[in-house]
Symmetry: D3
Subunit: 202 residues, 6 copies
């Protein structure tokens, strides 16, 4: 898997747990081709993938789970799922995810200030009431998941979400509850390319 040699690792802190030696990783065929696709499309392999690359089955589970939640058909648009990712990551102050998914919100929306607004305080963002309700639910899941009950789900239904939409919302917010903690606990550094992406209004 020579392509990963192109990955810019200069900004990764070698003393971090995540620096499990990629050279030792023997990428499965499936993952090798997935990494190549990343490089084609993004110009780099997101560091989160490298962080899982020491154990192929874990990497594969993570990738398939991620793709299912963020890219599969859903009543929530891809932008909305990225907005959830950012609002949750803001609540958890996750450096890696705020940089990577903040860029995604800017890119998908074409509105650079929207990515900043959700990363800084989603309550000020210029979004629809339905989206606001979704983010309120996601943030309550961060802060006090044990206090969520039917009234919270009913509020979402009142904004037009189906039960399947609520499931997708819950699964997305939960996924970043996981990813944020994994990134912070292992000291993941976001790829530096993200910072400048999609900063100008489209």
């Amino acid at each position: 898997m020579k392509n990963t040699k192109k990955v810019d690792n200069r900004h990764r802190n070698p003393s971090e747990v995540t620096a499990l030696d990629l050279k030792q990783a023997e990428l499965s065929q499936q993952m090798a081709s997935y990494f190549e696709k990343c490089i084609e499309k993004l110009g780099f392999v997101p560091n989160v993938l490298l962080a899982y690359a020491h154990a192929m089955p874990k990497l594969e589970s993570f990738v398939s789970f991620y793709n299912e939640l963020m890219l599969a058909p859903s009543g929530l648009s891809k932008l909305e799922r990225e907005m959830i990712a950012v609002a949750v990551s803001a609540e958890n102050r996750c450096w890696y995810c705020l940089v990577a998914h903040g860029a995604a919100v800017r890119q998908l929306s074409g509105r650079p200030e929207l990515g900043e607004a959700i990363a800084f305080n989603y309550r000020v963002a210029d979004i629809t009431p339905r989206q606001r309700a979704m983010l309120d639910f996601a943030v309550k899941m961060c802060r006090a998941s044990a206090e969520i009950g039917e009234p919270d789900r009913q509020t979402l239904r009142d904004h037009g979400l189906s039960d399947a939409d609520i499931w997708d919302l819950a699964a997305t917010a939960s996924f970043y509850a996981m990813s944020n903690r994994m990134a912070s606990a292992t000291g993941m550094q976001p790829n530096p390319e993200y910072h400048g992406q999609a900063r100008q209004k489209v």
Copy 2:
């Protein structure tokens, strides 16, 4: 997939989001045989699996991710991984996971009071200092993941954990940060069989 008809759903609240109709689920061959194995081994299909069963790829990702983290070889024993699951679920007060994984701790340890201690307040549990350090790290991941840094990881190394062990610890704690929230957000009910399991000292 007729076996799931045997699943005791009496105690599940039909108004909950999780009650996405299992009848509509068309289990993949792989998942059908996994469910059958559950019934053989446990006597029932854990409700968390039913909660994912409306979408086969999501269920498959979840199952493979779960099995990788909780059952694959690791420097952390299976009991230790269950202890992490319970300590995290206690922090998040997750009804489903405390019942299901509390039972697992009782079963794997043969010490019913250990399952209760970790579910109620892991700081009182009669565990090794290394295990205490692991649970302290897991709970810090719950409460203030953004504040975790090298000193926290160094404390774990001082207790003999390798960087790979730390990765597994972080991944396990993160997984329950996700599962707890998914369970609470969708109103999952634990299978009633868990309550009485492994209550007598072995």
Copy 3:
């Protein structure tokens, strides 16, 4: 007072503050006969009583206060008062009280899962709306007693509680705010007999 010799102290940590030497305690006649009654009825003297036994007047005050609140006639049933004890102890994560009073809820209700539900997250418990309102009030007393006011009490009245019932609810929740802290601050260990009690559905 020879009967206390039968008390199983094996599981008590001798380095804990609570291990004030019972042998030095000279039980008053009243307390000696109370301890004997405990052994007859429960098979053991609850460790909380031993923790007060170094000072007879303190033990007597505690016992009479406890019995007044938990056993005297009240608009709240004994089970409801135990439910309050458990919900408060869960909020405070009190190992001793969760074990002892969780057993009491299981026993008085004949529903083992009810004891677990209230100990883990009372919001999921299958209880009446009136009981839910009582536990919500008790938990608000734990978290933010200074913010309680007439509207909170009115909510209870709307669920049918009289002012005397509210007084009893407040007194019970307050009592465990005290007992939880006393137990945690002094390192009380629950008697091991509690763990297995009333685990099977009646």
Copy 4:
């Protein structure tokens, strides 16, 4: 029991739960003489006693418990026990107890600013390191009793507290965890006489 007619109830809010009609109370002989002693000594019956006076056994338990903890011989001086009462009540923002016990600290110490310092932020108070350690422990008991362990108790021993002193400290702090919540939950109003007491340096 005519003496209670002298009690100034003008400042009590008649809509509060605590206004359980004293006229209906039939004070036991013991309590009647205790109330008379209060009026002699303080000029009034503290409202907290009236709040318990609808049920003689509860009032008697409360009074005996209180007197045991606050007035019985102890390694902690009476002033120190009042300082604990105020520090705990400040943490819980208990109007009743801050007024009543703040006055006690001013009176017992002869230092009006000491009562204010502990009521506002005990960390600025001009007290001994041993007293500071006691108040730190008491406030940790308020905030995170489940996290207290041997290291916390050892810190107290390092400041010269015996295990019996620690027991008394824990019991006093716990008692106000209870009293604060009882006062706030039932809307107790402090007797107005306290406000002006002991305001001038002795």
Copy 5:
């Protein structure tokens, strides 16, 4: 600037940051005359001014800002602005500001218990619903300013506040968010004269 020699510095802790040597301060003419006016009117120079006196432009900015907010014409009375100062300082447990502005509330209102009520728990204070709404807003600004939005401002308008009044309320609460932290971070000690002031009902 000889007048400042009269300032009672005995109670200031010389090890504190605030003890930047006043002798080195060369008071501007404007500030020298302001200090003289303080001594005439109050009998002393408030220590907060000394804490800024090492840098004349900072002192002048602070003084003019303070006077603009607290003394200039506004839809909020001077007493109401002092009540806001105390409620905010209570939330932040600021020793200096609670002592100084608590005295101001007692003085301006002629009600010693009002100063104590707002300093201890403003929710119990005998104030108008409009004032309660103002203090609720101020305290929300302390705790969760990022969550304030139009509904919070509308609540104030419903109590009769104009947008200019809301601006003044916000500016006053914000000012003490600053002053409280400055005082605590630098260890400011309140002038001892405040403690006894206005303690008797007018």
Copy 6:
């Protein structure tokens, strides 16, 4: 003052409190020329100034206070003072200040990722240990100013800060405790020009 007509107000929400009509403002000569200087230098008048412009003395106090703290000579560099502004604003999730001062950090440092790191989680930022200690102190001032004491100040001295530096650090952090709350309470919108500024590595 015609220049302010050039100010881009399109992105300001007209229903917000801050929209106090600038047209009514009669800028003092000093402030008119200050606004002109802003337009020359930045291309716009920062919205925070407009928010104060309905009352000249308040605007003048704010401006002089701000300039004194952020621009006057100090042991802390201008970049360091902006870093403090951003770390505090992140703690308070202040939309306005994070956008405006995040841009300043990017600009003054020439490192776009530094602005993001401090805005998202300053603990991951690549800064000196002295700067880390400064930001830790500033964030403790946000969260628990009442708990700050000599040990916290000593830590700063151990990193080479003089008492005057500590004063400046405290004053800067305090200033944003104020500004963040003022911005959030009045719904200030940052000028849109900030978002794209200094996004490319110098």
